[in-house]
Symmetry: C2
Subunit: 247 residues, 2 copies
């Protein structure tokens, strides 16, 4: 067992379990472990990181939830076989702007970025009065050069002052929200349907208007229940199906 890990920061604000989860996740994603290879046992991890078994279990539980590992009672934890599909729908970190790269070239082009007034739908999702200021983004996600996802996002302007002028190209919106505005996502609701694109959307996604696409509506909120993001996305599932892992 030759793994080396960063020391966990006991004085910071980030919980130990989260730091540990990140460290393990980084190792797994580095490719150091192949599919179905065992991780160190819980007891070993408590020794290696100098934390309690509670912390280790919490970190591992999260990795199981994310589908990166699986656990078998009496045997241990193992690295899950690599998913070729992207866990976009079923993971918070898999949101439109925080898509995990799986050896694919992912680019994001911002088509529109403006201030506006929340319409009825946006207001209902974001739990704000209709007409309240929102920042609206329209972005096109490409995977290996192919259009893949077209997302229309609305965020309450009062939460993200200046976002309508920020540089967003190939940026993770969630990172930006976290660093600049202290927005920590806690949970999201998502609704999925099959839909046809209109003429404009079809052109952007380079499909015909009779191509069936996945439509995903989403609203996300912070730990204090404040809705900070609503989006509607069109996805070309003819290219890549959406994966959801249930743990």
């Amino acid at each position: 067992m030759t793994m080396t890990y960063p020391r966990l920061d006991r004085d910071g604000t980030e919980p130990l379990w989260m730091q540990l989860m990140r460290a393990l996740r980084a190792t797994i994603e580095s490719g150091e472990f192949g599919a179905d290879r065992p991780l160190p046992s819980e007891a070993e991890l408590t020794d290696m990181f100098g934390v309690s078994r509670t912390v280790v279990r919490e970190a591992l539980r999260e990795l199981v939830q994310q589908g990166l590992i699986y656990k078998i009672k009496g045997r241990g934890a193992f690295v899950s076989p690599r998913k070729t599909e992207l866990n976009f729908i079923g993971s918070m970190s898999g949101s439109a702007d925080d898509l995990r790269e799986s050896g694919r070239r992912v680019t994001t082009q911002t088509i529109r970025q403006s201030l506006g007034e929340a319409d009825e739908r946006e207001a209902a999702l974001l739990r704000i009065p209709p007409g309240e200021q929102v920042v609206r983004l329209r972005r096109l996600r490409r995977v290996d050069g192919q259009p893949w996802l077209l997302v229309d996002t609305a965020l309450p302007a009062r939460l993200v002052p200046g976002l309508e002028r920020a540089v967003l190209e190939n940026q993770s919106l969630y990172d930006l929200l976290r660093r600049r505005y202290g927005i920590e996502p806690a949970a999201a609701d998502r609704w999925i349907e099959a839909a046809f694109p209109n003429r404009e959307d079809a052109a952007l996604l380079e499909v015909s208007t009779s191509t069936p696409l996945l439509g995903i509506e989403s609203v996300a909120w912070m730990p204090d229940d404040t809705r900070f993001e609503a989006y509607y996305a069109l996805h070309r599932s003819d290219q890549t199906r959406f994966y959801v892992g249930i743990r």
Copy 2:
């Protein structure tokens, strides 16, 4: 606080946290609590049920995961507003045959039920050799009389001897698997795409062949990693969108 709860069985095999989760869930689903109403605090629940806070937290965590409740630090846990959509994709209990009823009349008609040999796709999903015996089910789910979901399921015959002759009408397949075969689901992988139905499927679902539907492929397994179920489902999202809650 006038709630009455069943006593938890300390001598059985079912973990206390799971029993508690079920009890709370039953209360919530009975309608006794309205949306956003507070649950008893963790401390109160430990007193009421005579269990440790660990057990209470585990039960509540599971309910949060299922989207039935939400928690706010410093304030407590609250009943989530009732979802009108069914949590089919993102929940193990929301599998094709264990759909939660939300005040809707749900019926299931078995169209086909037979023994067969696993084809390449079934074999890959179930991790069995092609040609191995599988039980195949084709079922049509109706909600309020409207066709809603058409599911083709394959299960390794060696795990479910006699299932091809069992009475399945309006039965929960998961209940049956649990009671008769001791099959306990642990996790699942699911893939979602937009698709068109073929002529036969379109007729069953009462749509045209140019109606876009959601296609869901799924494989589920037990704690020992044995794949016990694979299905492909077509869903009419023109009727009801699919909901996924991220917690």
